[in-house]
């Protein structure tokens, strides 16, 4: 089966397509002749330029969905296009909150399964195949869809690099939303932005993460301070997210963010497989842990066997002294 057209969900945040969508578009270019995008919200026309630059020729615009959550309206619009025979051979979704919702809804609407946690995509004689990291990234599974209908893939961030191809701005065409009935009745009544200074966790060149080894919530302040001094982003293990020390958005790992910074500094983190899958593709890993047998040392380029309460404050002092 040859792959002619791939659609990519182009999620927009702060007036720009999110990086993961651009990563998927870049990869889709090497897999299909035509790459198109699906977008929603009032500002689709404003991102047609960036999408076109990355290889998208047409943006299917669901338009303003008001206060609705995107899952139902966007999936309905795509399902209607597929039912009308205007759908693609495959649809790629970034593994974001909304991306997962839309993919799940679409899967049920089309009665097609969905492949999630994709970390690689390639094509062979039988069509698209996806790679999935399992068991903490120690093994790689390759899978494909069988049967009729488009393949629905939900892909993790940082699986590919985003690169522009220099295309012209994409054409914007409307994608109508079908009747969504009772399913589309959940509404957003207020949005809260939690202030975070510095670069975004999944885009930062340096990530400094803290784990349960910090001992108490207040000690997380030194992780933030160190991250700030290195112009990086603070991150966390799930243990301290679950404990309520930091918000979920800080979590690195299987159920959190995937990061690929130049340097990842793990402070008081044991290195459970679910944490490792989110960070072990960092270019360089530094770990500080008082237990020399901690699994994090098996992936660290530089391992410091020591107490975070001693090493981190000295590191902060030394960095401050350099000005």
């Amino acid at each position: 089966m040859s792959i002619e057209t791939i659609w990519v969900l182009a999620e927009v945040a702060d007036g720009k397509p999110i990086t993961t969508s651009l990563e998927l578009i870049t990869q889709a270019r090497s897999l299909a002749g035509t790459v198109e995008a699906v977008a929603w919200g009032p500002g689709t026309a404003d991102v047609a330029g960036t999408l076109g630059e990355h290889g998208v020729t047409t943006v299917h615009d669901v338009g303003d969905i008001g206060d609705a959550l995107p899952g139902v309206p966007v999936a309905s619009a795509v399902a209607a296009a597929v039912a009308a025979g205007k759908g693609p051979d495959a649809i790629l979704f970034p593994a974001t909150y909304d991306g997962r919702d839309i993919a799940g809804r679409l899967s049920a609407k089309l009665d097609r399964p969905v492949l999630t946690n994709v970390v690689g995509l390639s094509a062979d004689d039988g069509g698209l195949v996806s790679q999935h990291a399992i068991f903490g990234g120690t093994q790689v599974v390759t899978a494909r869809f069988t049967g009729e209908g488009p393949g629905i893939f939900v892909v993790r961030a940082k699986s590919f690099a985003a690169e522009p191809s220099g295309g012209a701005a994409a054409a914007v065409v409307p994608l109508a939303v079908d009747d969504t009935g009772a399913t589309n009745t959940a509404v957003v009544v207020a949005r809260h932005v939690e202030e975070r200074s510095g670069p975004k966790l999944d885009e930062a060149d340096v990530v400094v993460s803290g784990g349960r080894g910090l001992g108490e919530k207040d000690s997380y302040a030194m992780i933030e301070e160190l991250a700030g001094l290195l112009k990086g982003a603070p991150g966390a293990s799930r243990a301290i997210v679950d404990a309520g020390w930091v918000p979920y958005a800080y979590q690195v790992g299987q159920t959190g963010k995937t990061v690929k910074p130049t340097v990842y500094l793990a402070c008081g983190i044991s290195g459970a497989t679910q944490h490792l899958v989110g960070m072990k593709n960092a270019k360089n890993i530094i770990a500080i842990n008082k237990d020399q047998d901690a699994p994090i040392f098996t992936v660290a380029d530089l391992g410091i066997v020591g107490d975070v309460h001693k090493v981190v404050p000295k590191l902060i002092e030394a960095l401050k002294a350099r000005g």
């Binding site: 959550l69 899952g71 009665d111 790689v140 599974v141 959940a186 958005a249 530089l302 410091i304 590191l315």
Partner: protein, 259 residues
Amino acid sequence: MNVVVCVKQIPDPAAPAALDPGTHNLVRSGKLILDDSDAYGVEMALQLADAAGGGEVTLVSMAPNGETSGLRTALAMGAAKAILVSDDSLAGSDALSTAKVLAAAIRRAEPDLVIAATESTDGYTGTTPVQVAELLGLPSVTFAKKVEVDGQTVKVERQTEAGYDEVTSPLPAVVTVTAGVVEPRYPSFKGIMAAKSKPVDTLTAADLGLDGSQVGAGGARQQIISVVEAEARSAGEVVVDEGDAHERVIQFLEQLKIL
């Protein structure tokens, strides 16, 4: 208010996991336990039913071999009863097939609210609950970090990239909860004793009107082509801190031109 909680029963995550070399399915022999991710949903459901001044919490689970150990744990926490769907034809179900089974079972319980976890520990596809919602024709709110029910409306704080959204939805609805929404209670001795006699209604796929072409390996439309070892990363230099290890870190960062 009647609440259904989807609870998955999984192999102990602490035990080493393996794929069956023939079917590529996760090996699910041995005793199964309540997925930790679902303990939050059970606790949330119990608290919401309590706050609403009554109503029952019903568990719904699909598991092989009539497995009930995980259900007993959740019943011991305080759920009233359970529906278990267990049937050899369900082996190898993908997330959509699982959703079809769960949706059919949930329909029987006629809940006001359905709670599931954002993702399971062993499968972590994270799409099953939304698929269930679509099959049931219900609205859904995923990634809840706080849930309240006010009359016929559920109010959720939904995690977002930037922070969180306040979302409201009319009931019935499907809500998925993240870990840490509530602190799951430990079953009391009394709870454990009571759980032994709580009703568990065991059904097959056929009882739910589903046939083999819709569920299980027969209904799966995805296929594993290969499983290979990933490239391993090797350990580097290890320094035991004698009071000056931070200097080595600085040096390392200088080499990388971070400083």
